[in-house]
Symmetry: C2
Subunit: 377 residues, 2 copies
């Protein structure tokens, strides 16, 4: 008999939002009109050749790893080529870490709510997921210390910057405390970091990986380049790299040679930082449009996050509301969101929902929020 697993309710929901008349705040997609299609077309054309069509080393394209290492170093996370493993999106980095580090029954500590495809990875590995309390500044280090004492987790999973689904950012003070806890207890930490370059206000916060050698840092080309290329990377301690490479070999031998070569060609020929500034300018307006519309969209007593970056606003409606019931009414009114429940590892807060602001213009966001108001108010 096959084992039985639960699929992603978000991906199932996305199928329902595909009608063109639906204004969707449900996905976690970058805006396709902001892709640098011509830059990427040129990069693929330059990269295509006999070498980029052949099998390649599991660790990844050396040029791409050097370019990514330089970008990470420039952002304050000193990184060498050998610290990096190229992955098929940062999603794969999670699966590789889980396979490399977790025995069945191992305990994984997480924020709650958190990225649901990470929860799925842990569930597939037969891990036991233990939530750690937090607030608008992210995970509470004292609560983490309690969980470490009580549950002896093998792994801590965090999206510390502009988290999915909450949009929250872990404060520097807490990063320092969590890094110290990881060092003291020999706890491995996954810092899932797809969003940190999408900052719309305030100052960058140092990466957790810059504060402790116990941190595996997963990055991605998906939010700043193009997700269709499925390119991510894992910056891992030397003591784990050989095991991770073996697990990656078994998973898919290596990531697409041509996509890696095209990304390297793109990074050499283009100023990705300038492109990201353009993304931030557009997304900032979209974020502001959604935040501005929220007071007239939701009922009294509703709370929401006010993210400094990323893609998501997290909304908590008054007690007693079940967003699972509301989502079908919303789809009838041609607007979509994701109910919050699947982002919880344990008991969900049914009154929560996630809104993504990246794929719609401010005008469309305003119209979508008007539709949503007829459902929520």
């Amino acid at each position: 008999m096959p084992r039985t697993f639960t699929g992603s309710p978000v991906r199932d929901l996305l199928a329902l939002t595909a009608r063109p008349e639906v204004i969707s705040f449900a996905g976690g997609l970058p805006a396709p009109e902001l892709f640098d299609v011509e830059g990427l077309r040129t990069a693929f054309d330059q990269a295509l050749g006999r070498r980029s069509l052949q099998y390649a080393p599991t660790e990844g394209d050396v040029d791409l790893r050097a370019l990514v290492a330089d970008r990470l170093t420039g952002r304050g996370l000193a990184t060498g080529v050998d610290d990096l493993l190229v992955t098929s999106g940062s999603q794969q980095a999670l699966t590789l870490v889980v396979t490399a580090l977790l025995e069945p029954g191992a305990v994984v500590a997480v924020e709650e709510p958190t990225y649901l495809a990470a929860l799925q990875c842990f569930q597939l590995a037969d891990a036991r997921i233990v939530p750690v309390a937090g607030d608008e500044h992210g995970m509470d280090p004292a609560a983490l210390a309690d969980v470490i004492e009580r549950e002896r987790p093998s792994l801590l999973y965090l999206v510390p910057t502009f988290a999915n689904p909450t949009g929250r950012t872990l404060s520097l003070e807490r990063r320092v405390e969590i890094a110290a806890l990881a060092d003291r207890h020999g706890l491995w930490v996954v810092e899932d970091d797809p969003y940190s370059e999408l900052r719309y206000r305030g100052e960058p916060v140092p990466s957790l990986a810059a504060l402790s050698d116990r941190v595996l840092h997963a990055g991605s080309f998906s939010k700043v380049g193009a997700p269709g290329m499925r390119l991510g990377w894992l910056r891992a301690p030397a003591s784990l790299m050989r095991t991770l490479v073996i697990v990656k070999q078994a998973a898919d031998l290596h990531t697409s040679t041509i996509d890696q070569a095209a990304a390297a060609a793109y990074l050499k020929a283009n100023d990705l930082d300038a492109h990201v500034l353009g993304l931030c300018a557009a997304y900032r307006e979209r974020r502001d449009a959604m935040i501005a519309a929220l007071p007239s969209t939701v009922p009294a007593g509703t709370r929401w996050s006010d993210p400094d970056g990323g893609m998501f606003v997290w909304v908590t409606l008054p007690d007693g509301v079940d967003t699972n019931a509301l989502v079908m009414s919303a789809l009838e009114r041609d607007v979509a969101f994701v109910p919050g429940a699947p982002f919880y590892a344990t008991t969900p807060d049914l009154s929560t929902l996630r809104l993504s602001f990246t794929t719609n213009t401010p005008a469309v966001i305003a119209e979508g929020m008007r539709r949503l108001a007829t459902v929520l108010r």
Copy 2:
């Protein structure tokens, strides 16, 4: 502590064969000079756009699945779009099947020797690997029946056509018997089928998947198109497909959208069958050159396989020879092969080695075999 795994000795060895003066029979690579670079360049250019740079469904590109389904159907394996999951190479298909079907401690039955990256997958899943005896016509159904009775395997793994590493093909009679055993005992079978289109003589043998609904059939673009694109597919029974899609979601969300779109564009615009005929013409000459050279390359008492297709010749030297010791001498003489030991799940035959004939021209093969003779004779 990280879990500990053994890496691929073949991939480690390939690093040593990278010196340009080495004539390598070690890899399992397609010949890069036979890649249709310009056809693929055009396909990537046509495919590149906002849609092919975005996230995409986990199941894979519908156009690509339809084109693959048509090719499989044309080769005698009736297949619909919904029977197919696109994977990041057929290597990923193996990992997905293992995650979907195997509990820790499950038993996997295999040919011996067999594809070593499959063995790695099963080891990572903490499966117990049980070899089934066979001969030059492939696995022996009577031996399989014994193993089923005695060990109750959850899965049977086979490369039935032009196997890696032996080059052997399972006879039709045995396919029918093995399919009947799978049906009778409810045994899942993985038919790993990357090589069957590379036939140099004789008539095609029906796919195992055409003989039983218990067969998961893994195919690949790597040997007939280009491995750098990391494109494969898994044809699976409907009862397993939903679980496989969930496992694929957790693994990497989906395979590269742009690579899938380019492959679909390529298959629409080009006659892949004609391209494969060209590959077969070139590889047939290379196979013949290697087989012709073998009698003067190896010592008396050596046996070797005489493959009808694929990429490999399997050589068994006289008893008492250890090919692990010989490979370093071979590298000193600028020729490389893969010792046979890593292809065994249990007790290796140390006198075996694998030769690949695909990446060198007949003249280079002749020179490489002369060098090899100085080591082996």
